[in-house]
Symmetry: C2
Subunit: 564 residues, 2 copies
């Protein structure tokens, strides 16, 4: 048996994983990682947490759980893998099955022969040619160098203001890290919401939370120019001419796949610019595999190609590649359902499957959504309210779920992600057997409650209305009868102030005469979370009111300013 | 349309839920709850947390989230439901469709007619006729009265020692509540482990944790007698004659269904003594439904009847019953997969689906288990180790999952529960798309890691050995070569002391000569979590060693005393 030669381009997540897996399956293969950066196996998703001081030992970003830095010596000793760092691959010669690489410090070139090549070249920041983008102080948060720079900014306490351009995952995480370090942050997002994996209504709640933590958020506005003096950033000029003074600006408007090498080598590239791979993570050249942020993978729900640059998928893909380069194309990677989660100060925001926006984008018809607000635990255990949005298709199959709030969002999204991957229907979810004990969930889990509300809606027992629809009615000058079913003390503490009538649920049956005389008048019921709102609807319908609706999620899902 | 008469026996979880759901579906039905206890809708799973002082406002156990106590006035006003408390049903007259009830304070009897009857009578403690069991100081933890009593015991600080009889969910929760209040607790469990929903190996880790928190745990021993003076408990005498001094003893050896009334009325009773219901939660009398702790429901995996007295199932069943009594038997309840979770001080322990013990009990053949220890988060985010056990059947379908540890067990069990309910196979789980960000999980989620280890095992790449098998070998005087693949500093901090040889993984390839000369000698590899143990196995196999194994879960799964 001849020794297999494996070359892996990229040594962060997917590349390092593919190499390590290959080693376990073949002790005698010659495995070489070629890594442009000085570091290997960086925990890049952890960068914002080091910047923000969640931990202070930088080496933890590079360590094994046992505390050993994963440097070339470690790779050699523990994995018998040669790792060439600060070395760039400059060409792939497919005909010769060679890669040409150049040492970035010495400029020296060398040629490596391969039997199987893995491209795990990652992604790079979108950096449009905005004037001033080269000023010192404009950075991304994608490398150890970026991380070191921003950590120093936080530690030095000289910079008082920062602007984060882009309100996606990294933008929001950068915002939290900098704002938490005492820097006044403004997030500037070109579209009309942060975290575009969420629908607008839930994203707006996240935005409100970011603002409540002291950061500023501007949506629907772009950046025109980076302003500076002596080569150093002093401000960010927005499209409307406003200048936001700042010493640092973090560009976080997304990433694009590093697929240039692959393209130059004639490999097939997909519609997002990522390398096209088959189910074995094999490129259009059967001896070349690819994984991680440089590839496109299937969206498991739509079947369409997707670009999903996530650390967990990179690792899983790397593992598949590691096996296939040793054992032959045999194990498969199914793709993504776009599951993601993001810490936002003490809030969390997550999504899995299709958002309503995504459903509209692909032209899905006959779907239904519902917004549910309910606690993550019993009140006596310190319940936190979660707000979620569930989407089912016309066959009542669960296709999407988003959840935001102070509570245990992680469990919610994990539960929903498995429901989607198991192709479960609403009927399966309404009576799901989930782990219940008061420290961990309410007797009826929040996800199951969302399914119950959806079922009430689909069975015609609840007519839901979104907060946006309510807002539109108000903006159009319509005057539906708003019924707030809470108690006076709750009202005193907090209320919308949209002309609502406070009729506590317990008094409703005896106060039907306080309702519109016209039984066809539009009545919109709600309460804090709209459970009592729903009960009010049931009562009113039974008493002949024909046009009763429930504002989904109640006051907790209301993203607009409240009177109190 | 004539007004439907609904009578509900029991007003805690299932009964209250059935009544409330029925009301929402029929505003004009006459609904009466007959409740033996003075309270309604008690959050009984929360009792231990009030006893232990997690919260101090007793009324929170009885309140709506808006802070209104769910008393008969609340039920009347908010739900238009008549709730007769401190009232016992003494007979069900099926032929007349009536129940006879007696006011426990006045002794007055009344007869209620029903069109549909719901039995949600709950369960009661197993109280074997142990001498002295009537002594003051012997209690259960199943009612508000029990709760008030135990809370007073904690507040008064007179009782210094307590014995909890039974190491199940309630026993462990009672132990935590009392021990946390400064009382020295001893848990006495007749079988050889606590928390019998877990397999022995994981339960032993929980037991060790309880002991580390200062409580004592005695397993494999029963109680012979409650010893007292002047009618008051002073100690618990064990089967071996030992007397444990104590001022309080909590009986927590399980519950049995309150099905006497149903039995007397001639309804079919199942093998666990619970009321038999069909998929509509309908008893053998089509006008009588039953739900909650008094019924038997199907085990969804085996199809056999199961007794699963859990608060979440009671609520879900109640909801199904509420709909069926109004709309006719139409919605179904699928049963349970025995999902459960328990807080154990700062540990948590959960299970879903079949444990290995349960698999053996039903005679399942061809299944495989694996124990996985790995972190719940990246190290830099304060990782906690979780130890889990995964069970797949011969078709590699996920049938069971248990998890214990300091970390986020709740998400783990919820994820696995949905995987089981979605009938997912190992192949589905190894590349599952779960929510990843460093505050919530490692890049490869713990559950997915367990699936990876299982796959390595099933593909013959890892030969696992359980800690029990290792212990048996040691006890039998066998001398396999134990290879601990960690670094010297880790060894210094903690090691088993079973004659292991410390060969750091990074040095293994150059130290093959330190291994047994006989390539067929048994070598058992491990490390802290046995990832390096597995890598060691791969290396040794490649170098011709034929009898290499990995101790699953490594040192973290070792439940026996360690040398250090």
């Amino acid at each position: 048996m001849t020794t297999k030669k494996i070359v892996v381009i990229g040594g962060s997540a997917a590349g390092a994983k593919a190499a390590a897996k290959a080693r376990r399956l073949d002790e005698f293969a010659e495995i070489t990682i070629v890594q442009k950066a000085p570091d290997l196996s960086m925990a890049s998703c952890g960068y914002p947490y080091y910047v923000g001081g969640t931990f202070n030992d930088r080496s933890q970003l590079l360590c094994t759980p046992a505390g050993v830095v994963r440097d070339p010596v470690f790779f050699q000793k523990a994995k018998k893998i040669t790792a060439l760092v600060e070395t760039e691959v400059v060409a792939i010669k497919r005909a010769e099955k060679q890669v040409v690489c150049r040492n970035l410090k010495t400029g020296e070139e060398q040629t490596l022969a391969y039997d199987k090549l893995v491209i795990a070249a990652g992604a790079r920041a979108n950096m449009p040619p905005i004037p001033g983008i080269k000023l010192a102080g404009v950075t991304t948060l994608l490398s150890m160098a970026d991380t070191d720079y921003l950590r120093k900014v936080c530690d030095d306490k000289q910079v008082k203001q920062a602007v984060v351009i882009g309100g996606g995952l990294i933008g929001v995480e950068a915002c939290e890290a900098l704002q938490g370090s005492g820097i006044q942050v403004t997030v500037v997002e070109a579209v009309d919401q942060v975290l575009t994996f969420l629908d607008w209504d839930l994203a707006k709640l996240v935005e409100n939370h970011i603002k409540a933590k002291g950061a500023k958020v501007l949506t629907g506005i772009g950046v025109k120019e980076f302003v500076g003096e002596n080569g150093k950033l002093t401000g960010v000029k927005l499209a409307d001419g406003t200048v936001l003074d700042c010493g640092v600006a973090v560009m976080a408007i997304g990433v694009r796949p590093n697929s240039d090498l692959a393209k130059e080598a004639g490999l097939t590239i997909g519609k997002f610019g990522g390398i096209t791979v088959n189910q074995y993570m094999q490129t259009s050249d059967p001896d070349i595999y690819a994984a991680g942020d440089c590839v496109e993978i299937p969206n498991r729900i739509t079947g369409d190609p997707a670009f999903a640059p996530m650390g967990d998928l990179a690792n899983l893909e790397g593992r598949v590649v590691g096996e296939n380069i040793i054992c032959g194309a045999s194990v498969t990677f199914p793709g993504t359902i776009h599951t993601g989660i993001c810490k936002v100060f003490d809030y969390a925001a997550g999504s899995t499957g299709l958002s309503e926006k995504a459903a509209q984008r692909i032209g899905l018809s006959g779907y239904t959504t519902v917004v549910n607000a309910s606690p993550d635990k019993p009140g006596f255990m310190g319940a936190k309210i979660l707000i979620s949005k569930l989407l089912v298709d016309k066959d009542q199959r669960v296709l999407g779920y988003q959840c935001v709030g102070l509570g245990d969002v992680s469990r919610q999204i994990a539960t929903a992600a498995m429901a989607i991957q198991g192709k479960l229907t609403l009927e399966d979810v309404v009576n799901a057997d989930l782990p219940y004990a008061p420290p961990f969930s309410p007797a009826i889990d929040h996800f199951i409650t969302a399914a119950h509300v959806m079922q009430n809606k689909l069975k015609g027992r609840m007519t839901g209305m979104s907060v946006q629809e309510v807002r539109s009615k108000l903006d159009a000058g319509e005057k539906p009868f708003f019924l707030d079913g809470r108690n006076p003390n709750e009202f005193e503490e907090m209320h919308l102030g949209i002309g609502e009538h406070l009729i506590p649920l317990g008094a409703l049956r005896s106060r039907l005469s306080d309702l519109p005389a016209d039984k066809n008048a539009e009545i919109i019921c709600f309460c804090k979370i709209s459970l009592r709102g729903y009960e009010a609807e049931c009562i009113l319908r039974a008493h002949g009111f024909t046009n009763v609706k429930v504002m989904e999620g109640g006051i907790m899902a209301w993203p607009y300013p409240r009177k109190k």
